[in-house]
């Protein structure tokens, strides 16, 4: 055999080079042809993807043909987009791509990956990008560590004029994302660039003026996870959120209660209070926030041990799409949520954004693929108004004006209030002042994350008040 192979090899080497070139070219073309045909058929024959779990969106639709659309180029670009966007097994292929990109370089011990272009906000960088001393809240307006749940009425002497300029034009509410390896797991952190919170302060003060003392108003802003888990050598790229919240709270009118959950969450950082693969906190983090709020509101609150614990294994959240980091996808987490013991005795009614009832339903729902949509377990998302009638009879009616961070909060308060209204600040077409008065709401809490407080979302609050 070996001898025959040697003979064949010798004969092959004695052939004219031109013939070898031709022969090998034919073989190459055949290989390319087979490979290409398989690829083309894969894209043409296999059923196309219709939605992306990673990107949490429906994929492009085949465009409808119109003459004007054609000449505007919309039809042709739409066809190409449809073809490119709806590739079979899109999410799986994207994951392969992200895994490939993860070998582009070397990684430090902390395995930090940066997405976006964070700028220094404290402890370094240019002087102009540092918060001025004047912008920092005075010690007198800073709530003490022990009074987290108490009203932190700002000191009358605080420099409102000075502080209102905090970071103006120098900060953006978001400041990039870093992925870090922490306690053996990957965690994506949104860095915080700060902001004035002017729109937020103005809206809350105006709500207070409109509603008077008959409705108790609370501000409960959740810090981003970067407040607690940013490695020390990146701390200069994320602003101290507690200082920012305190400063904003110092400009609230008398009677608005500042619920300091930043301090409380800071005492539980060794627990899973933030999702590692998602931009939200965990239901456990929301539990500590709800507990703090209940104390501030003076309502009863059940211990976590009375709740039924439910797990969704293998959860990978939004941070995978945001960072495109394979490490996030390869390190899923368990999403644990808690169902109150009186859940069966509560009725959850759903309304559209104009507050027209669409019927009753479950507060806790499994939506789509729970491994990607676990956070939608609460009410299935944001784009509706919710009313929960509980079995509590204490005359207290709560309205939660929130972004998606607030979704995880209501369930913990089913034993605390008689009625709970949940309104997303981005998806509401009714006048909230009227709605609050018409429904006899007694407590109004603004529950949102830091970048909603200082970013464009806050501008919606004034719209809700005046529309």
């Amino acid at each position: 055999m070996a001898e025959n192979r040697q003979v064949r090899k010798k004969k092959f080497n004695q052939l004219k080079r031109a013939n070898v070139v031709k022969f090998s070219s034919y073989i190459s073309i055949m290989i390319f042809f087979v490979f290409y045909v398989i690829a083309v058929l894969f894209l043409l024959v296999i059923p196309r993807s219709t939605e992306s779990q990673i990107e949490k969106r429906s994929l492009a639709q085949f465009p409808a043909f119109t003459v004007t659309g054609y000449f505007a180029g919309d039809f042709t670009s739409g066809v190409a987009t449809y073809y490119d966007d709806t590739v079979p097994f899109r999410d799986d292929l994207k994951t392969v791509g992200y895994n490939f990109k993860s070998v582009f370089g070397i990684h430090t011990e902390e395995e930090v990956k940066i997405v976006g272009k964070p700028i220094k906000v404290v402890n370094g960088g240019s002087e102009t990008s540092k918060p001025s001393e004047a912008s920092k809240p005075s010690q007198t307006s800073k709530p003490s560590e022990n009074s987290a749940a108490e009203t932190s009425k700002p000191d009358e002497t605080s420099e409102v004029t000075e502080t209102s300029k905090m970071g103006e034009a120098e900060y953006t509410e978001e400041n990039g994302i870093i992925v870090v390896k922490h306690n053996g797991h990957y965690r994506a952190l949104e860095l915080f660039g700060g902001g004035t919170g002017n729109a937020y302060v103005a809206a809350l003060n105006n709500f207070h003026k409109d509603l008077g003392d008959s409705v108790k108003i609370y501000s409960m802003t959740a810090p981003l996870a970067s407040e607690y888990y940013t490695p020390s050598n990146y701390s200069g790229y994320t602003l101290n959120q507690k200082e920012c919240f305190d400063e904003i709270a110092s400009r609230f009118d008398d009677g608005i209660v500042y619920v300091d959950i930043d301090t409380v969450l800071g005492q539980h950082t060794n627990e899973e209070i933030y999702l590692r693969t998602d931009h939200h906190w965990t239901p456990l983090g929301a539990y500590y926030a709800a507990e703090t709020f209940a104390k501030a509101a003076g309502v009863p609150f059940k211990d976590l041990s009375t709740f039924e614990k439910k797990d969704i294994e293998g959860f990978v959240g939004t941070m995978y799409a945001f960072t495109q980091d394979a490490n996030i996808n390869n390190d899923p987490e368990t999403f644990t949520y808690y169902v109150p013991d009186n859940y069966d005795k509560c009725v959850t009614e759903y309304f559209d954004t104009s507050f027209n009832s669409t019927g009753t339903g479950n507060f806790f729902n499994i939506v789509g693929d729970p491994q990607h949509n676990a956070y939608l377990t609460f009410m299935g998302g944001d784009e509706q108004i919710i009313k929960v009638n509980t079995n509590v009879k204490n005359g207290r009616k709560l309205m939660i004006v929130k972004d998606s961070y607030g979704n995880a909060v209501p369930g913990y308060l089913f034993n605390s209030f008689e009625e709970i209204y949940v309104v997303d600040m981005r998806y509401c077409n009714v006048n909230l002042v009227n709605m609050i008065k018409d429904n006899g709401v007694t407590d109004l809490v603004f529950a949102m994350v830091a970048y909603s407080e200082v970013g464009p979302n806050a501008e919606n609050l004034e719209v809700l008040r005046t529309q």
Partner: protein
């Protein structure tokens, strides 16, 4: 339609291959290519495809008139008219907004700036048309009598929207008579796949770094960050543009056309003049042949023409002052190198010449990058270190360092591939006397190319909008 899309690679090309390779007659093959080219162009420009056809008709017609009046003054007149109309279209579509903006600025006027959308590839097909008309006048080529064949030359989709600027003389014979060997198809496929891979795997990944640091305000960027990003940007531009040229050359070869090389490992140059003999060769040779040697300024014309060429080179790249500065910047260095002389420069220390040329090239790409002159100003302040003194910018920052580490292998790979390493590997396999070595080399490259195409396809899944840099020209 962009080359770096799944729709183009795995649908459009499949249809074109099927239609083209099932035709036996050259005339039918040409019709398939014309139809494919017009569909390709109309996919992105459903209206301005008419401009392409009109440009082809106009230049074809004037070339016939030039041919009919060979040696007569009328030939010069017709050449002038055709070139003026070509340039007029280019000015209208590409430079009107720029002209009005500068007029307003200069004369404190308030003329509304028209929002004219530039048809893609107009700079390329206009220059091809100009070269054809002038070549007809110079009698270096014969006017093409068939409009269909001329339209094929001007609209041929592999080189239509992003070059290279193919001279008519290069493919004149192949329009009528071309044979495609198995080796042509094999080499063409590999070249095209290499181009797609350079764009999708390398250029797009490098662009992510550039966008991270240069995509927003750079006033606070550190000294290290600015140098790091501009070096990455230089590599990005090379891989993006040369990738496109590779696709064009590869596809052309599969259809039997042999285009000239457009890039010849420009980063191995030892001086700026050599860089431009290796970078976008079809453009620099265009300006050399059709502008530099023109007796525009009379005697002594050499240096005035040199700066005119570099002014135009800059302006061709875009209707913005930074491109003009970029062109003149290179013009100054080439002027200085001309004064020093090639012989004297050859005696210089090789290490120093490489450092000199790379510094000039990389800083040049910084000028090329920033159309916003304010940001360009910050670029110079950052890269010179002045902003560390005036603005307190850092020398080094952890964000840039992290990006550098995370992309180290990619950058090293890009630098290696930008050198003639693959060329040397290929030379080794092709010229080794042993047929087995050649065969193994060919099969290995085939398998690697399949892998690269697969990987590019996978990465393209994440790119719904992924235009080539040179589309804007």
């Amino acid at each position: 339609m962009v080359f770096s899309s799944l729709f183009f690679v795995f649908f459009f090309l499949a249809v074109v291959f099927l239609a083209y390779f099932t035709r036996k007659n050259i005339n039918q093959k040409n019709i398939v290519l014309i139809a494919a080219s017009l569909v390709f162009y109309a996919w992105g420009e459903p209206v301005w495809v008419m401009l392409l056809v009109f440009s082809a008709a106009m230049n074809w017609f004037f070339a016939l008139l030039i041919g009919a009046n060979r040696g007569k003054p009328k030939a010069k007149l017709f050449t002038g008219i055709a070139v003026c109309i070509d340039l007029l279209f280019l000015v209208i579509f590409k430079y009107t907004g720029f002209i009005v903006e500068n007029h307003n600025m200069l004369f404190h006027a308030n003329v509304p700036v028209p929002n004219i959308i530039m048809p893609i590839g107009i700079s390329f097909f206009t220059f091809q048309a100009i070269s054809y008309v002038i070549d007809c006048y110079w009698e270096t080529v014969k006017p093409q009598k068939s409009f269909k064949k001329f339209l094929l030359y001007l609209s041929l989709f592999p080189q239509l929207v992003a070059g290279p600027i193919v001279r008519y003389s290069v493919i004149e014979k192949e329009i009528d008579d071309r044979t495609v060997t198995a080796e042509d198809i094999n080499e063409g496929i590999k070249r095209a796949i290499l181009g797609v891979s350079k764009k999708v795997i390398v250029a797009n990944s490098l662009y992510a770094i550039v966008d991270q640091f240069f995509g927003t305000d750079i006033s606070n960027l550190s000294f290290f960050g600015t140098w790091y990003t501009v070096i990455v940007y230089s590599l990005y531009v090379y891989f993006d543009f040369s990738g496109y040229s590779d696709i064009a050359i590869g596809l052309g070869r599969m259809f039997g056309f042999h285009f000239d090389e457009n890039f010849n490992y420009p980063f191995i140059c030892k001086n700026v003049s050599e860089f431009w003999q290796r970078w976008h060769i079809s453009l620099s040779s265009f300006f050399r042949d059709y502008l530099f040697y023109m007796p525009i300024f009379g005697q002594p014309r050499k240096y005035l023409n040199l700066f005119l060429v570099w002014f135009c080179t800059g302006l061709w790249h875009g209707a913005s002052w930074n491109f003009i500065f970029w062109g003149l910047y290179f013009g100054i260095f080439i002027f200085i190198e001309t004064l020093i002389g090639k012989k004297r420069m050859k005696k210089w220390n090789k290490v120093l010449t490489h450092i000199y040329s790379k510094l000039v090239i990389v800083i040049g790409f910084g000028i090329f990058c920033f159309t916003d002159l304010g940001q360009l100003g910050y670029f110079f302040l950052n890269i010179s270190g002045i902003s560390m003194l005036t603005n307190g910018n850092e020398f080094w920052d952890i964000v840039t360092w992290n990006s550098f580490l995370n992309n180290l292998f990619l950058i090293i790979f890009a630098i290696i591939v930008s050198m003639p390493v693959l060329q040397k590997v290929k030379y080794f396999f092709n010229n080794w006397g042993n047929n087995t070595v050649y065969f193994v080399g060919n099969m290995a490259s085939t398998v690697i190319c399949c892998g690269l195409l697969l990987l590019s396809g996978i990465l393209l899944v994440d790119n719904t909008n992924n235009p080539f840099l040179y589309f804007r020209f």
